[in-house]
């Protein structure tokens, strides 16, 4: 093959690879810069000539975040809230999703289903003021319960719809057979349907956990006591406290983002099928 032909064949390919490089640089540079800022000493940060790859690694910012701030308290609060929300969402949506899958034709059940879809679409900003008043009246402001209740309510509708889909795939005949064999009907859900829907439960759990882990607006509004803050509002507070200490801010951001990103990438095939069906809230 003469060189000119080879060149003509390969230039679109080269162009494609070049575009991929530009795209990935755009997508990943901020994340790279966050980590890079976090690990370098302050004199390489506050300068008009910053280094891309740190010439010197420094743990000072991580030490500040971990030992001299409330970062770990925020993490604990977020973990508490997110795990409770996940457990509560699983219980509530398993029950509702099962009922929705098996008894669709009963009066009222369909209406509840439509209500779920509509409820899923109500944006948070329209609820934050009235819910604040409700929580105030219930005496739940500055209590993690306000967030647990709110986040559970927000993740139940989509979780119910997802689990309904999974229960739909479990044949009714299996349950009927179990009942004929003398399994009490209330145990059918627990012993027969639930084990068969485990993949669905995993997806739902991930969704509920990440949803409440990342939520900002309600956590920022309902909780004002510092030792009850969850992670995302806590990070936002750091912006105010460490105004110019970008090393510490980026260290906190890196610590907070890495577990979520790793979890996402690990679970990306579930995630992508979720996105492909247009179900995941952004």
């Amino acid at each position: 093959m003469p060189p000119s032909t080879r060149w003509r064949r390969s230039w679109p390919t080269l162009l494609a690879y070049a575009s991929v490089v530009v795209l990935l640089a755009y997508a990943l540079f901020p994340v790279f810069w966050m980590v890079s800022t976090a690990v370098k000493p302050t004199n390489e940060i506050r300068t008009a000539d910053p280094t891309f790859i740190p010439t010197q690694l420094s743990g000072e910012h991580f030490a500040l975040v971990l030992w001299k701030s409330n970062f770990l308290v925020y993490v604990r609060n977020s973990l508490l809230v997110a795990t409770t929300v996940t457990a509560a969402t699983l219980v509530v949506s398993t029950l509702a999703g099962y009922s929705f899958s098996r008894f669709q034709r009963l009066p009222g059940i369909t209406a509840a289903g439509v209500g779920m879809i509509v409820g899923q679409l109500v944006p948070g900003v329209l609820l934050v003021v009235p819910l604040y008043i409700t929580m105030k009246n219930l005496g739940l402001l500055d209590s993690l319960w306000s967030l647990i209740l709110t986040y559970t309510t927000f993740s139940v509708p989509l979780s119910t719809l997802m689990l309904k889909g999974f229960f739909d795939q479990v044949p009714v005949e299996v349950e009927e057979a179990a009942e004929l064999d003398g399994c009490p009907s209330w145990q059918v859900v627990w012993r027969i349907a639930l084990p068969l829907a485990v993949p669905g439960l995993m997806t739902t759990a991930l969704y509920a956990f990440v949803q409440s882990w990342n939520e900002f607006l309600f956590g920022y509004t309902f909780i004002s006591q510092d030792d009850l803050r969850t992670l995302t509002p806590g990070l936002a507070d750091f912006i105010g406290i460490w105004t110019v200490d970008w090393g510490a801010l980026m260290a906190a951001a890196s610590l907070a983002v890495l577990p979520v990103t790793v979890a996402y990438l690990y679970l990306q095939r579930y995630l992508i099928s979720g996105i492909a069906t247009g179900a995941t809230k952004g």
Binding site: L24, P30, A96, G119, V125, T150, F216, T221, T232, G282
Partner: protein, 311 residues
């Protein structure tokens, strides 16, 4: 009950019916927690919003009175906050969704090419979307920081800017910059969704077109793109609703400032609720936003029905 009447013999023998009727009871019992949560924490707050919108509740002063449509009137005649916020909401929503869609479409087309390592590329391109909004905002505030921010440093060094720009603090650039950051965080969602749709385009169609002499560009325009209509439609409508109602991005980047230059209806609701404590004013804005949402929802249903009939 209908079941008893239909199966009297079996009922008398007491084989199945009691059990079945028992399970009908379970149907409602199982639904109950979900329904209670939705009623208490979604429906009731919305009802509350409508009630508050015709009162004059202000957290700074106790008491409430019925004031009719006064709040709506004062909003609609407010040229300093309300109408600029309407305009900013439109720019913010159209700019964000438009930018996200174009970038998502371009990157999906790129990652649909038979490149080596595209599995890895697809995974990497998803990363911005996994970054929580708070962290995206923190990181970009640092990159765009006027003195030491790498964005300004690079742009000045490359000669594109004569001097650093205070991107988030300047009246003329604040809103555009928040849109830019939102596009960065949100476009991967479009990439993945559109890529999935592109891979569902029948290979035979593309091959046939190729044999008939259509080049890559024509194949993309005439075959791939029409196949993306359904996904695109859903993506755009969902994101219009999410973006229009988003408070976090703008609040964390600029708090709606400087001087309300990036204030949207959504951030205005939040400001009135939690900064100036004009609860009823916030509620009246919310009611107007609900009305807009319902119009968009009705339009969506109408259009998607027409689409289904058209196909």
């Amino acid at each position: 009950m209908a079941i008893d009447a239909a199966q009297p013999a079996r009922a008398r023998r007491g084989v199945h019916v009691p059990k079945v009727r028992g399970r009908y009871g379970y149907a409602y019992l199982f639904m109950l927690p979900a329904v209670l949560l939705l009623l208490g924490l979604t429906v009731w707050p919305l009802v509350r919003t409508f009630v508050l919108s015709v009162q004059n509740v202000n957290l700074v002063r106790p008491g409430s009175e019925f004031v009719g449509l006064d709040n709506f009137r004062s909003q609609l005649t407010d040229r300093t906050l309300f109408w600029p916020a309407v305009w900013h909401s439109l720019v913010w929503t159209a700019g964000s969704v438009g930018g996200e869609y174009l970038l998502g479409l371009g990157s999906a087309a790129l990652l649909n090419l038979p490149l080596r390592g595209r599995g890895l590329f697809r995974m990497l391109v998803l990363i911005p979307w996994t970054v929580p909004i708070v962290i995206a905002a923190m990181t970009w505030r640092w990159i765009l920081q006027p003195e030491y921010g790498i964005g300004n440093v690079l742009l000045v060094r490359l000669g594109i800017l004569a001097e650093p720009v205070y991107w988030l603090g300047d009246l003329s650039t604040a809103l555009g910059t928040t849109i830019f950051v939102n596009v960065w965080r949100s476009f991967p969602f479009y990439t993945i969704a559109l890529l999935a749709a592109m891979q569902a385009v029948p290979k035979e169609l593309l091959e046939a077109a190729s044999i008939d002499g259509a080049n890559a560009w024509q194949r993309f325009w005439k075959i791939t793109l029409p196949h993306l209509k359904g996904v695109s439609f859903a993506l755009i409508v969902l994101h219009v609703v999410w973006t229009f109602n988003n408070v976090e991005f703008i609040w964390l980047l600029t708090e709606g400032g400087p001087l309300h230059a990036s204030e949207t209806l959504a951030t205005l609701v939040y400001r009135m609720g939690f900064r100036t404590f004009q609860i009823s004013q916030a509620a009246s804005l919310s009611v107007m936003m609900i009305a807009l949402l319902l119009i968009v929802g009705a339009g969506y249903r109408l259009l998607s029905r027409r689409r289904v009939q058209g196909e």
